[in-house]
Assembly symmetry: C2
Homo-oligomer: 376 residues x 2
């Protein structure tokens, strides 16, 4: 349990453990049209463009809802109705973009690799060469399904060379892994308040190339999710079109200040990498096997093979860890029976060691001596 609140630590892909001070920023009611709240919005938007390396050419458009709302808004706003999207899939979030396109009735093709395999940039290159109707490419920065880091920069270079447009879902990576939207380049990048920035859930945002955003007028299928319309309104009066989640916005503002205090992306990434190292080496010492080789592992969430031991019941393991104050996450994989442990949120290496201690203790209680998978 945390010293501050005696709540369990959330070792999940979100909602995450946030700082007490971030939550305390929600103890005030803001008028959404008040000057002080408008300044908070300006600060948040400017800071996010800065973190993304957007410079003057990019703008930030916030959107109410979860990360999926932001991704749907990005796809619907940026992919023209007569466009065609190439979706790089190696997990649930790639599949979700395909599902969004099904809803939107927009044309798409997929390039799917297994959940432990990143997309091959040269394969993307030939797909773009062979299908001139593909106008846009969508890639997941860190696919939370497995925790795999996808080669966004290499993909971006191919997409730019083939003169297509790139859309990035950086939901679980933004704020912890360096990204440079202007340098990639990309037209848009979506993320949310509640991942590596460590805010409360309830809003997402899309970092948009402003010139590209201007061209998107009329693309969106939804009033609520039309980023161009939201941006236009914000340019006029700096306000959200529809009631913003004021408390969540205030918490996000505080979380961004704490992110800066930690040294921005470099500092935040350093803590998460250390969390990940401590977790992976400790789990290996207990006999668990991570799904991914270290080179493909993003320091966000780690997938472990389920132990082959027939005495290992995941639900019991999960419940006992939760009782000890550590909430982990079930797997979502097709390639392997697995579970996941997150490295993000207001957690440090002491917490990770505490989790490892609780895992060791739980294995003892369950009488599990062998934690390796069926096929190692």
């Amino acid at each position: 349990m945390t010293a501050e609140t005696h709540e369990p630590f959330l070792l999940t892909p979100g909602p995450l453990t946030t700082s007490a001070t971030t939550k305390q920023a929600m103890l005030r009611d803001w008028g959404s049209r008040d000057a002080a709240f408008i300044q908070i919005n300006r600060d948040v938007r400017n800071r996010l463009v800065e973190l993304a390396g957007g410079g003057d050419a990019f703008t930030c458009v916030p959107v109410q809802g979860s990360g999926t709302f932001a991704v749907e808004a990005m796809i619907a706003t940026f992919l023209p109705r007569d466009g065609k999207l190439l979706i790089l899939i190696n997990g649930a979030y790639g599949h979700r973009i395909a599902k969004i396109c099904d809803y939107l009735g927009r044309d798409y093709v997929i390039y799917e690799t297994t959940e432990d395999t990143p997309p091959d940039p040269s394969e993307v290159d030939s797909m773009l060469a062979n299908d001139v109707s593909i106008s846009h490419v969508a890639v997941i920065h860190c696919e939370t399904t497995s925790g795999i880091l996808n080669p966004v920069a290499e993909i971006a270079a191919v997409v730019a060379r083939r003169q297509r447009r790139l859309l990035v879902d950086s939901m679980s990576a933004f704020g912890a892994l360096e990204i440079d939207v202007a340098g990639l380049p990309c037209d848009a990048l979506a993320a949310s308040s509640n991942k590596c920035i460590e805010g409360a859930p309830g809003m997402g945002f899309v970092i948009c190339h402003t010139d590209a955003l201007v061209e998107t007028k009329g693309n969106a299928h939804s009033l609520s999710l039309d980023l161009e319309d939201q941006w236009n309104a914000m340019e006029k009066n700096a306000q959200w079109r529809f009631t913003p989640p004021t408390h969540v916005v205030a918490a996000f503002h505080q979380a961004l200040a704490e992110h800066a205090d930690e040294g921005g992306i470099a500092g935040r990434g350093r803590r998460y990498r250390r969390n990940c190292e401590v977790l992976v080496s400790g789990m290996r010492a207990l006999g668990f096997k991570p799904l991914l080789p270290d080179a493909l592992q993003a320091p966000i969430i780690v997938t472990f093979h389920m132990p082959a031991d027939p005495g290992f019941d995941f639900q019991i393991f999960y419940d006992r860890l939760a009782e000890k104050g550590y909430v982990i996450y079930p797997g979502k994989l097709t390639v392997a029976d697995s579970f996941r442990i997150g490295c993000i949120g207001r957690l440090d290496e002491q917490v990770m060691r505490g989790a490892l201690g609780a895992i060791g203790e739980t294995l003892e209680e369950m009488g599990i001596r062998e934690c390796g998978p069926a096929v190692a």
Copy 2:
């Protein structure tokens, strides 16, 4: 300023002033798949169906985002792609439903009255008689533009007699004005966490006739806003499909408990009616003229004509009231130059008297002696 927090009182249609205890419910991080959080969701959904008079035939589907997200989700899910919607418009929120239909590409007709005139049920009756292609009717319970109470029960009776389906936007009324979704009847009713229930903004919900909801499969234009898909998932595992705004949900749970403690809709409505009476009679004493006759005035938000006195500058009036701790709201009307003062949120008649005192003082400072409109 409130005794609790020294924040300004929000006399607006939302975001509103909420109780300290409601905000304090956001001081904890919940895992979205945890049993305790799932129970909170169950409680919230059950309580909302109960408040709506839904009985066993109705279910509650929550949706991330602002009230507009919930309204768009309701229209998109319940209006079939080959359906046709009759929209009763007497303000901005009626127009917004038409705009949503434009985005969705769904067929609609409007019946528009001025902002101070409720729709005439007999006119709705003849429109339904004359156009058999109209499948659904949308009505705004309390149109926040003016604060007018629309005759939802009378409209519902006509719609039922003509065997069409009714969709109700009860955003600013639900929780303070009695409504009986089963008795009306209606297929769906949309509202949000941050109006008369006095929660934090960030989620809406739709009370749905379950049999009607089952028929909507495939209607929705958006993955994020598909109520049928969200409902199906919740029936299976009681969880949100995509990350819920956990802190906002926890605050809403607390706000619902406080709503019950106040005596539910009857008690909450009583306080708001008293707020409204004190406000209107005090403003009349100061010389202001409300837009609406008392019979059409919902106890939610009151529109006042702008004083004709050329010395009255609304921005100065607004700013000075804000400095004194009372945030009011500009008008949104086409029929009259006006401003609005809300009666909802964690406010009582003492607060309304305080606001009236601040208004009188501000008029003194501004040297305004005559607050009547140009044409009384």
